[in-house]
Subunit: 456 residues, 3 copies
């Protein structure tokens, strides 16, 4: 019953505990995260616990705001220590949210600290962790090794030179650190700085881009470049997964209109984005890459954050009304049998649409891990139970950390593996599944499954 | 295991029972109900169990209809005793619905009767309760005191003279009975009797209302009047929470068109309602009131009930397709940092949209209690688990009874507190939360939290 | 804890086990399935386990495809034995999906085989079951008797001559095998082969069909014919339950346009389908039949399956955005008090809309069993818990197998009864319901309830 107890945390049956023992030490395969690969390449010492646990993590920022912490102590000009003290001051208020568990798990597993964060011991934890971070065993590469990461996929813009990935390519004893090609900026034609991005892309590939064909060619150049660097997957963050069949001429007209500085109709953006998704599908089918589609995030909903701090700062939300079934149809059918697709959704109310699509499209289309707001014990449990009953757990695309902080890969993976074990343990207890079958499924879902799917 | 057992009802772990002990006797703060304040001011004896438990409660009516009881014995001209006997005749059929628990809890807690209602003992219960209702300890004020109600907020039209609230203002030993300003009738410009309502409002404030500015001024007069009577919040019942940024001139044109007796386009109603919501936001920001928005009820869906019995008689439903994210955006951003908002939704499928909005908008925007069809053990449990994982339980806006019958405030509150304890108890058992943190959160969510939020 | 253990499978409390004992032997009333009645009429021996368990079941096909089995070994020209060996080869991979439980339950209950299917024993099971299928006790009629089926309703096109139903009408010791009138083909005016179907209908009734009135008259003839054959219900499979009030002239114009070979606008199809639903409502109200509406299936979403194998082969999905509340309103109000309606939905996110509609419309409108992708232990559990809290379990329309294979009626019914018992057992354990009330509800929901509703 004790908080984060090794034997019982999230494991409510003996069967769950037995399964967890079989999977807890499997290497981590993380097909999607937001690692800063430079951090690993440089391998500098971390300075303090705030840097490690909160400085890059808008999950933490949002919760601090909810408890009334002033922005100065979150993303402002306060010192890291002041920020840590502010976080510790409200840390108990986060109880029940997975962030409360993740950070305590990090403390426990990475720092060996079993204390419960609170205002009284905040300073002591600050000091202890600061001391520990001076050790070489707490530098980025050592931490990755310690967490037994076998493969990790960062998320990268097509124009990224990938010099840090290159630097890590031949370092012995390190996980494979693979770039993921995420061409959102080349697709989001409705954005204000779109032409500016096209200019940057043009420079990157050293070719003029004046038609949609030029654009596709330029992107193919970067796609090839990523392939040379070991990429196995692309990633696409879309509010609506537009994938209608659209002609080249229509898409080109929209592209030229936009590049001429004109404002587009929503239908024009939809057409252009659909066209590009088909081209990405072709590139990926040729390369044998997996196409990951993250569906339904409404970005930058809160103006105050977007205007003051920019994107990815805590102003993104979910929308139950996002269209999925109709926009995806042409795309999935066009690439049926030729392309592997992993679908993620933000609103748990979209699982039925996605799970039945995955079921209908056979082995190539599968559901990804519970994403973002669903990445919690209750969110993962419900997703796994639902996938299991509609689709197959054996086809689950695997846990991804989606994390912006390296230190928490282990904790996020641990939470998932415990929940998976518990879901299966409950099925065993209810007589729905023999234990040896459940164990086989658990091992597969944690390692062999994603390994085979992504070709790691 | 026994039905409604003090120690085990809805409490499935020792930890849950320990937490419940810490919160069960906290005073009740009820920020939203449908109390008839005249009933309390007059403080007459209740006549019988039907009056107390069913005469004002369309929840009960609907369930009787589902079991085939004729309307005459529900809302018709039968005697209260006949109606009670009809209800008792099908009462066992309600098993599994929270109404079955609430009414039995009321019997147990308020009347000391532990019998299970059925046709055999219906008459006996009728007689016993009738006798007890003759005691002074069963008159409205005594019951409120017995239930330990500290603050209760009724729901009132802006033109209400609030004479009963005034009458109760200085009565010693009584809860604060605060009016809530609910201007739906001034906003629902699409309704047939809208001009008629404007005439009544005009009379109430003794000023002509010919423009939208007049309307806003008139409403401000009532807003001030409510403020003098201790109001801390407004309430808004909307199918779609229209809050688009709309110009005064556009809104005025719609208002004048409607007052001229013309029929509006849906887009015109949307514009007018959006404009008014912004004005309400301004009034509330100035007064420091909390704005409660109840989203998604489709009113009067069943013609037979609406035509024969009018509104609020059991013909309201939920619609999964209600728009929320887009219509709320302008409003929430316009008042970001200036206004406290509590969001309620009818369809549990809308929690992800609302919870992520609440998470993004920080401390001022929070989720309210599980509303109406969600106000059940399973509905509350799922809501609390979801809030907890996406947002924070510490930011929960507090239980509200939403009740149309005074006798059941205690039972509804008790059911909530037991479910909250159980949700937290389960987290403790799973090692997700230390018990002292859970207990702190439970106490906060039941008392200090809503007290601080509403400024009670 | 053992897999499919008689005492504990899906039954997690003593109370659940006690309730299950009370309902497990009740006769089966199955108001909706896809039985091939000819199979029963002919009463031939089944040839092998593949024929019995998989040859007609696209649930199995989809899961085999998900595990990468080639189509040849699923629906192709391989032998039944090859197909069975392919299925057995991936059978463990299906763990967690209800199909894993159903087929093992069938083996256990019908064949007395307790083995877990796997590649090693696949051949042995093939041989054992082949031998057993040669016994008379394993022929269709004997199996139906053995499963204690009292009434079963097949799903039939209006033009079906029902000769097999006739053949079974006076066979002693057999369940009542009642046809269900499902006029989807007469309503789906947007389909390519619609005029062809109208020609077939015209031939069947020996009357020309040139107006919508002719069409309605022709359908009425078949409705009468079905009534003579004992029909108690119709069934309607609709993506959107269009039921708007539409004039005869408008509907006729659309019908004539379509019969003239022209292409329709979506709004025209909607109008025509709405008009027809009202006519079906009238026919059913006159006959006292129950109208079953299956809402939300998006048919033939995967082109490869539709183009190669046709409809009902595994390419159907669910869509969270299906409209329900608005299109159903006119229809439900037009027939309020005159017609019994049972609503089924494919997306669990539509339960709140349906359950609140059922609650509002009283005794005549009720929720049907968890359909298709929801027909699993977790799907049924959540549906029953939700119905129970919003509507009433006493008004549940009863379990239906929806099955395409006769051998599994028992297993599907058993799974439902265990889940129902467990849901009620949990309520008893939590003190929400006295056991004798729960038991009464369970018995009613399994037998007396549907019997009374459908007039069996």
């Amino acid at each position: 019953m004790a908080f984060l107890d090794d034997d019982t945390y999230l494991l409510t049956s003996e069967a769950a505990r037995r399964i967890y023992k079989q999977i807890k030490d499997l290497p981590i395969l993380d097909a999607h995260n937001h690692a800063d690969v430079r951090e690993i390449a440089e391998n500098n010492h971390y300075t303090d616990i705030w840097q490690v646990e909160a400085a890059t993590d808008h999950y933490v920022w949002e919760l601090m705001r909810k408890r009334g912490v002033p922005e100065r102590l979150i993303t402002g000009d306060a010192t890291n220590k002041e920020k840590w003290m502010a976080l510790a001051g409200i840390f108990e208020d986060l109880g029940g949210n997975p962030t409360y568990e993740w950070i305590h798990l990090d403390l426990k597993r990475r720092f060996g600290i079993n204390d419960l964060i609170n205002p009284t011991n905040a300073e002591e934890i600050w000091i202890k962790t600061k001391e520990m971070l001076e050790k070489d065993s707490m530098r980025p590469r050592a931490v990755l090794r310690e967490m037994n990461v076998e493969v990790m996929c960062s998320t990268d813009d097509p124009i990224d030179p990938l010099e840090h990935h290159e630097a890590m390519q031949d370092v012995e004893g390190m996980p494979a650190i693979l770039p993921t090609w995420r061409p959102d900026k080349a697709m989001n034609i409705f954005k204000e700085d779109y032409p500016h991005y096209i200019t940057k892309l043009s420079k990157r590939v050293q070719k003029e881009i004046s038609t949609v064909d030029d654009l596709v060619d330029a992107l193919q150049v970067t796609h090839d470049y990523f392939e040379d660097h070991g990429t196995k997957a692309t990633d696409h963050g879309v509010r609506v997964p537009f994938g209608y069949e659209v002609s080249r001429d229509l898409a080109n007209a929209v592209f030229e209109k936009r590049m001429a500085g004109k404002v587009l109709e929503p239908g024009e953006s939809r057409d252009f984005m659909s066209y590009m998704m088909h081209r990405f599908g072709e590139m990926n089918a040729r390369s044998g890459w997996v196409m990951q589609i993250h569906i339904g995030a409404v970005r930058d909903y809160r103006d105050m954050l977007f205007n003051n701090l920019g994107t990815d700062t805590g102003g993104d939300i979910s929308d139950h009304l996002v269209e999925i079934v109709s926009p995806l149809k042409d795309f999935l059918n066009a690439f049926d049998g030729k392309l592997k697709v992993v679908l993620y959704c933000l609103d748990p109310g979209h699982y039925p649409s996605l799970a039945t699509i995955a079921r209908a499209f056979g082995k190539n289309v599968n559901l990804g891990a519970a994403w973002w707001y669903n990445d919690s014990p209750v969110g993962m449990q419900r997703q796994l139970e639902y996938i299991s009953s509609v689709d197959l757990l054996m086809n689950f695309a695997g846990m991804v950390t989606d994390s912006r902080k390296l230190m928490s890969y282990g904790s996020r993976t641990e939470m998932f593996r415990r929940v998976l074990s518990d879901v299966l343990g409950k099925m065993i207890s209810k007589g729905m599944l023999p234990e040896h079958v459940a164990t086989k499924i658990a091992i597969h879902a944690c390692h062999a499954g994603p390994k085979e799917l992504f070709g790691f």
